[in-house]
Symmetry: D2
Subunit: 491 residues, 4 copies
């Protein structure tokens, strides 16, 4: 995810949690046999894919630059018998790996990009491997590897049991701000898929049924007229003034949009030198809302504000590098199955060594930030999205507006650790993260198995999707003519 609510969510955990080990088998008798087999298949490959996750963790490649990470995952899937197509959607590191044929078509999403500046050894104190280098602070090394583990195990299960249908692994680059999946959707790669499964590293185990914030992003580059600021300021038209006034306009907007919106910006070009009236200046802005529809209204007003700023300053404007993700739509039909399966899989507990590591690492968390280590053994109850809950954004949202989608969160991070931190990167590079990854892989594989075996489940998922989309239409804010921003991490 682009950012994550882990530390905040600590306080949201409902009082009722379910201890996995105490759980009776939910809905016993439905698919226990099949799950047993597919879960074993995951277990047999778990160590290998833990190694894969570690290798990608070491690669730590930024968005649209994940050459080695992507190639490694492609190689694994090809070896396991998948047909791999790459590159796709004008994205050099995107790929689609496919097994089987016919309906249903079930997709699993994989991500593998790292974050700038978060290089970190698998140690419980701040220890960059290379200062200022990228690191897997959002655990996408686990995400892509765990999804591949699920895919490979599920493929083996299908083959053994002659299960008809098509299984796809989507290698989706640049989730962190590059909107990789949006361009893949636009290229038609999700056109014929029936259900999409995904997961994300987190500090707890739960089904992720919708939520996250729709997001629009853009650079507002203003052009004015340079002039000497002491000798002839009246000849200048200040692009910085336009940035300042756009900022002011945004602040005045806050009161008059839904209060669960978020708008935040930085000034990426504030003028060259004080003695020159700036002829260019740039404001880089994100806007978010739990609803893509509401966000669209907010975005329209932001555009008007930027136009107002040009009028006020006699400047002109380029709105550049437009990006955006939809919110993630829930799918209640899928969520019920996912919750049942995750509870069947259950959580896990730390070894004494892992406990020691986790306790050391928790010392670096802000006061009150640490949470019970035992919570990794629990599965949170199922809940839907809350429009007033703090959240981040992800391009999985766009997938969920096109295909019935359900996801999992797994306790890959030491409880209390939030994504986009060195603590997350540390956890993602060792056994704690890998254990969480295996939980996720099992839940994905079991749910995939259900979908291949129960045609009604797919129909229910589709019906729920149609209900969610009633009165809505998918429309990315990204202009049709805009290509994937392959260089967005070069700045």
């Amino acid at each position: 995810m682009q950012v994550s609510p882990a530390n905040l969510s600590s306080s949201w955990i409902p009082a009722i949690v379910v201890v996995a080990t105490l759980l009776p088998a939910v809905a016993v008798g439905q698919q226990p046999a099949s799950h047993q087999e597919v879960l074993q298949l995951v277990d047999q490959r778990a160590a290998h894919f833990s190694g894969i996750s570690r290798t990608i963790w070491e690669f730590a490649e930024l968005g649209y630059q994940e050459q080695k990470s992507s190639a490694l995952l492609q190689s694994e899937l090809r070896s396991a018998g998948f047909r791999v197509q790459s590159p796709v959607a004008d994205e050099p590191t995107a790929f689609v790996a496919e097994y089987g044929q016919g309906e249903p078509v079930i997709g699993i999403l994989g991500e593998f990009d790292a974050l700038p500046g978060l290089s970190q050894a698998a140690k419980p104190d701040r220890s960059p491997v290379v200062a200022d280098a990228p690191g897997h602070g959002c655990g996408h090394n686990l995400l892509g590897s765990g999804a591949a583990l699920a895919a490979v195990a599920l493929k083996e299960y299908m083959e053994r049991n002659h299960v008809p249908g098509t299984l796809r692994y989507y290698g989706t680059p640049a989730e962190e701000g590059g909107d990789g999946k949006v361009y893949m959707i636009r290229a038609g790669l999700f056109h014929d898929v029936d259900v999409v499964l995904h997961w994300h590293p987190f500090d707890a185990n739960s089904v992720s049924n919708g939520g996250m914030l729709a997001i629009n992003t853009a650079r507002f580059l203003f052009h004015g007229v340079a002039a000497h600021a002491a000798l002839a300021p009246e000849r200048g038209r200040s692009a910085l003034d336009a940035v300042m006034l756009m900022g002011n306009g945004i602040e005045f907007l806050r009161e008059h949009i839904p209060s669960n919106s978020r708008i935040h910006y930085v000034i990426t070009n504030g003028g060259a030198a004080p003695n020159i009236v700036p002829d260019t200046a740039e404001l880089y802005l994100y806007a978010r809302n739990p609803s893509s529809v509401a966000l669209s209204g907010v975005w329209n007003r932001i555009l008007k504000i930027s136009q107002g700023a040009t009028l006020m300053t006699e400047t002109t404007l380029d709105v550049k590098e437009i990006g955006g993700d939809a919110n993630v739509l829930p799918n209640d039909a899928l969520a019920k199955v996912a919750q049942r399966n995750l509870e069947e899989v259950g959580g896990f507990r730390y070894t004494p060594e892992e406990t020691h590591f986790a306790e050391e690492l928790q010392k670096s968390l802000p006061a009150g930030g640490a949470r019970e280590l035992d919570s990794t053994a629990l599965i949170r109850p199922l809940r839907g999205p809350d429009p007033n809950e703090a959240a981040a954004s992800t391009d999985v949202g766009d997938v969920s507006w096109n295909v019935p989608t359900i996801g999992f969160l797994a306790a890959t991070f030491v409880p209390g650790v939030v994504p986009h931190t060195w603590q997350a990167a540390a956890s993602a590079g060792m056994s704690i993260g890998q254990k969480g990854m295996i939980i996720a892989a099992k839940a994905l594989a079991a749910t995939g198995a259900d979908l291949f075996s129960d045609r009604q489940l797919v129909l229910d998922a589709k019906a729920d999707f149609r209900r969610q989309m009633e009165g809505k239409a998918y429309q990315s804010v990204i202009p049709d003519a805009q290509k994937p921003p392959l260089n967005y991490r070069n700045k």
Copy 2:
């Protein structure tokens, strides 16, 4: 004038000043005989018109409400043999009084409106006659009466000497913010006049050759959508936000317009109650510059800013009650004659009683504000407008863009007293102000006599006017369809 630079100008007085009583007759031999006669005619009527000035001072009527003041001046001029037309230009208190016929046509401007809140007895301490009532804080009681004194004396002189030509007295209401003369120009009342003379009360004696600031004024009334500010602020569109952002836009503009511009505003409607998103809000703004041409550029940018504010807030805008005066164009040909005549007339000195009054009154001035009482005996050297000098605005400016125009300032206010103060109102109600008025009346009458007797002088004035207007065209900011704002003082 709408405001006046008296106290500031203290520091601008060049070191070289000319003591009137020591002056050799400048340009001796040209019109000494005629001046002697016309100046005597002024002296003979001085006491009477001093009484008229005192009566108007007691009337103290606000702009467009000067019924009694206008009627009194009309009555005096009619009695003296002028033909009076009133009302004119849709202004109930405007009039034109005319004597003679044929060319040249020489006009003298008269004003007679008071200012709100400046009621003051003719005493050297703050003593309102009626609390919060209007008062003659800009000395327009003297202005209109002194101009009438000059007109009556000059008419008598013309009649006695069979001088051909037409003499006009323009009774011009609402100079203080009502732009009375602009509507009179629009009505064609200055169409056929050759030269216009005017004067204004001040704390020193000098020729007023151009200067003052062009001014545009308007009310920016924004319309939004009301909503409960606690329950549904997102449904509101705040007109107050538009006012705030327009204000911000104005502040950012200041750096990028000529630094001798002035923009100032107040918020005349800032919303009804905190718990309601304001659906109306208003900003009342003045913009000024020494040049009408430069001001036009500044005004255009202010309008853009106001439009930008509507875009930023999804509000709409009425630009209302637009007003404006041009800067006063100099006329160097007329200025030379005017300076010669004013020096011929000379200044005056206070009686011991007046000196006592003036010294008492000066005690109320800000530290360093008082100036030498003897300065009333001096005539300042001639100078043209300085674009970097602080100044006020007057609708005489519009006249000067249509007709060759020259003016005088006379020491009606105790030295150091600035217009628009109770001290000015006090001075304007007693002998000190009246003595200054007589100086002005003499200078006007003598200059009028010169213009009627010396056709070349009129031609020179017109040539100088054409030179000044080269590349310029008169265009008031006031919309053609807008009527005189007769109720502007009712708010």
Copy 3:
């Protein structure tokens, strides 16, 4: 209440509502006998107090000016056998009416102030009785009368049944922005009370268990230095600039406070005239948050912003007419009893005439604003406060931080009508409002009877109160030295 969420709350109504007539008697057998009697006593006096409510509706007196309304209620209570003390707490229209002696001491809150500009006949279209005059747009005529009805019935019940304890009616003026109850608390009038009951007119029937927004209000009056804005703007220190910059500071603050906060302001003095640098200017501000504690942090930051604005402009500041209410704390022990009793009382249905009136009136509501008329027959399920719900503010909040407090809402307004509207005033002046009032009076009387008869209930309420207050301390933002703002409605 100072404002109310009625129309918004329409969408919050949970799908599950309970039809009163179908309800089994909850907890049957506990106090049915006593309730029967006290409810009959309410019914016997209902017509009389409906008339009282109509009389006060006609008085329509503003906050701290409710002389006639207060006197009428005092007279009624005195006639019924209450001991009345008035005035109290330096508020001429406040009073305390008491019956009985000893413990427990149970209070019922009454309000009776009207709102400016909402004069309205009891007609379904906009028909002011007197243009721009006050009207009962928040239904406080019903509030005070209904509370008195409950008190009188309960007193009779106590007397008949020799129930020990003290019953108090608090006549609390100026709820609408005058913080009447805060000064009564400060005067010690709630010092010895065990439980406080209250109700408020609304468009539905429910228990009101906490909620509403804590609010702080103040006028920020800045003082600068006047100067002529054209001649010497550099000598001025603009109080309006301080207001503008304080406003800007507030806008920038919005992002960095909890997003369920509300801050809204108007500019009540934006300068006198454009050509004078304003030496005074004023911003009138409300800040709100569901939590008084969180609000205190927000308020502190607003004060810092106002100080920052003085630094930026070399002005000085008076923070004046400080007002404030706490949020209403829930009391779950009382809420359970209140819900049971309200369900026992049940709702009501309109007559054909009332239905016609309501249908006509609903035509004036904004699109989508109307709700089912049948909903007046329902009782909403019990729920606690939601910190993300839009809400208004009330000085009942301060009572709830001092004493265990529980309240009711009753369907006095046509469904879909929100408080502070002419539609609410119309409903409050006729039988629809009166029927709702009787529901409330019965629920109050029944709950009062329970409290007098069941000592454990009072103990439970106190325990719940202590739990709520854990780590909190009551502290009004109103300075100790500040007197009730008796003239606040004179502006």
Copy 4:
């Protein structure tokens, strides 16, 4: 100079200019013999120092990095018989070269730093030697070399004629924003000097008698608290908000300071990423006024605004890298001598090749920017500083507040070319610039000769200096503890 008014000043040139070749020898008989000799001595060394100027033009070293340029000038002066002390004042490239002994002590200022990004060949079209490399866009290669030429010739003249007294050349680095001379003053290097002479490249020949703007500069670095802007913006304290509000505060200040002030700023750090509340942000600001005293008042208000911004945002502030120059005080006694000498030296005319170069180069100037090439033959009349004239700033100002100071401008740039442009750099690298340099060297040398031979002239200069300083005291805004910002060009 830090910036220069050349193109603007075009319009300020009085109509009366003096053709040098027609000039009668002013004040004939005073020092003609001595001037003839010293001017010849300049001519004999002119070609050599033209070469030196070209070499330094090729070095093009930035402020405090002028190692080669400084060493070359030191070497030349040492060879010519000066005693050289270097480094001085903690500035590695500063030096003082001295000849002779006793009184009077006459100083000549040399500068030699280049400007970033202005690399340019000596061609009349835009041709960088090295893209983005520094270039001599302000002609300091000529400045330092011409001053050295004057010093060497004057030393030879003194030696030949046994003129007593001390001649000093001040090698002053980093004039462009590094305030090199301020630290040299602080080190006491100007303590015992009687008169200081200086010159600057320009597009016309004139005496430079005072003027330029006093300037203060600083970086305002705000510190806040980072937080995730989507998940927990309420936990953040935005340093960017502080920058925005400081900017807003500055804009509101503009109206209320003298209108000949200048304030301009850029945002050098506007936050790292939109999704993080910025914990650092920086605004880099210059403030200027024709008077150091007035500027001090303006600066104080800017500091208050920055403090206000911290209060508004709960941030903290470092005011860093404070810099500042005083305005240049005039010295009328020296100016008269300087004007006489410059008129004696006279201007120069272009060769046909130079004319061709100049005409080509003028094609690149903005419309209306070019001026008559013949104007290089003229000497402008003497005038003093005009407080309303657009101007730049220089650290010569600080020298002039400590020692009687007079300067020259010489026509080194093609008429119409303004400093800090590639056109200036082109002119400074070829014969046009060198011819202007020789004019300046002659005027400096002749004036130096006068000062050594006429003790009364020194006394008059000191008397004029005392008069200028009456009521003033020199106080740099740079904190005593601050060292020269040797790395200021490394950013």
